[in-house]
């Protein structure tokens, strides 16, 4: 049998999260002796195919290269994967638990008439998995009775494998059909010299205590000194301080860096859900009773507007 991973990419490079998803696939493969195949669906994505084929532990790379797949719209991509599952003897389909992955996986699962397991954090065996529920306040061990399993993988639970050291067989697939249901118009992706939130080793996040969006510059100054990414709590996003793609939490991004610095964040369970697996957590807050202090390794009860400039100067 084959375990299929759907690669996430921008037609130029593989997304880092695909490395984590491949790691989960390899854990599964080691349990049932399967091989791992990677699907690269896109247009003019030759550099992605090369990267995919040179990834250690990947036996096959299937390539679907056509205009209908350029933006990997779910309406066009899902039927292609349904065909692939039928033809190639696939037991599991794994997708990263990212915005792109969460968009495609349930559409695929429903077309296959199987349940989906979201946010895989541990593989017990080929049918049994662990996933968080209730904002990570409970962990459910779930057994699937479906012949094909569709899973999304939480990146923070699996150490990414690098896209090197492999030599996979490359096979082309027939072109996908444009279903004519959806059309791409435009994309605005924020370009930043700072690391991505989901892969950063250090993150400094601000909450409602930052008072406004302009004050986030205080976090950015610290971030730039230590190579950190800048995040935010839902409260800060709700208040319009910063954009939603910076949100760390239950319904935002799930992160687990080596160091997470929470500044002016009270620590609602929804925020803790997104960062409580970080190695070291630092909380800076004026409120002694703030729940964030309960999960912090180091707590500093002080005014962030005094602390941040001092912190920046000390680095």
């Amino acid at each position: 049998m084959t375990i299929l991973v759907i690669a996430e990419h921008n037609n130029q490079t593989l997304a880092l999260a695909t490395g984590n998803t491949l790691a989960a696939a390899q854990v599964l493969a080691s349990k049932n002796g399967s091989e791992v195949a990677l699907l690269v669906a896109g247009e003019d994505c030759q550099s992605v195919v090369e990267e995919a084929a040179s990834t250690q532990g990947v036996a096959k790379v299937w390539v679907a290269n056509c205009a209908a797949l350029k933006q990997q719209l779910a309406e066009n991509l899902a039927p292609l994967v349904v065909d692939l599952v039928a033809e190639k003897g696939i037991s599991h389909v794994l997708v990263s638990s990212t915005a792109a992955g969460k968009n495609i996986a349930p559409r695929l699962a429903a077309l296959l008439d199987v349940a989906q397991i979201s946010d895989l954090i541990e593989v017990i065996d080929a049918d049994t998995f662990v996933r968080p529920i209730y904002a990570g306040n409970a962990l459910a061990m779930i057994k699937s009775s479906d012949a094909v399993k569709v899973l999304t993988v939480r990146s923070t639970a699996f150490d990414a494998i690098e896209f090197t050291g492999g030599d996979a067989l490359i096979e082309s697939l027939p072109d996908a059909v444009d279903q004519g249901l959806s059309r791409f118009i435009s994309e605005e992706v924020v370009s930043s010299d700072r690391p991505e939130l989901t892969s950063a080793k250090v993150i400094i996040s601000g909450g409602r205590g930052m008072k406004n969006g302009d004050n986030f510059v205080l976090l950015e100054k610290v971030a730039d000194k230590i190579g950190a990414a800048v995040g935010a709590s839902r409260a800060a996003v709700d208040a319009g301080f910063v954009s939603n793609d910076m949100q760390v939490g239950q319904t935002g991004k799930i992160v687990a860096p080596d160091l997470y610095i929470a500044v002016g964040i009270s620590g609602a369970i929804q925020h803790l859900a997104g960062m409580k697996d970080s190695k070291i957590i630092v909380a800076i807050n004026t409120d002694e009773e703030a729940p964030i202090f309960k999960v912090a390794d180091y707590g500093l009860q002080a005014d962030l507007f005094d602390v941040l400039p001092e912190f920046e100067a000390a680095l």
Binding site: Q71, A74, A78, T98, A100, K102, N103, I104, P106, R107, L108, A109, A110, L111, D113, A115, Q116, S118, D119, I133, Y134, N137, A138, L139, M141, I142, K143, S145, D146, L181, S182, R183, F184, I185, S186, E187, E188, V189, V190, E196, R234, V237, D238, N244, D245, Q250, T251, L259, I280, I281, V282, K294, D297, Y298, G299, L300, V307, F311, A314, L315
Partner: protein, 248 residues
Amino acid sequence: MKVLVAVKRVVDANVQIRVKSDNSGVDVSNVKMSINPFCEIAVEEAVRLKESGVVEEVIVVSVGDDACQEQLRTALALGADRAIQVKTEAELQPLAIAKLLSKVVEREEVSLAILGKQSIDGDNNQTGQMLAALAGMSQGTFASSLEIKDGEAIVTREIDGGLQKIALKLPSLITTDLRLNEPRFASLPNIMKAKRKPLVQITPEELAVDISPRLTTLEINTPAVRAVGERVANVAELVEKLKVEGVL
């Protein structure tokens, strides 16, 4: 055109849940229940479409036992026109719910279905996309803006690192993200009025849907608790500690 909104009854976002001592599930007895926050955003968006004249009727649906009528009434008080309860005592998984909703979409011939992107209990983020697949609809997930124009739904989606704009051929499925709108509060007169709005019940059998579960929950556990940390007196001490930890 008609729009269908699905709502789910969930444990209120402010409740700290507890895992049952026999690890069979989560204890939800005697806790505050609410309409799932993302579903509330879905209701608001549908009502706004009606207020702007794009939509003639807003139908709200929930799948569950009679307790979910409370959330249906809430949606009616917020401005939905009528409600459907797909009545079942069983705890359903997203695939079964999507199949039931797909039948309702078909029966009611709606042009648009708006769902929350995820419920805050199961955290699955599946039902909307599954419904779209089963009903053959286009999908606009994690929407932060929605506009109906020339027979298409123009959707701005929250994606990792930014925003994506797509055009969808109707009928379409939309799932809501946080910034799509800010839901209103139901006024007292509207709450009273909602009591008289129609609410019909149908069963999974009437919709001819097999709702048998595909997943079995073997056990539910409490995650490991982080060890209690320490307080530092000032920035110098903090920097010192972080250097010792090797993270600075």
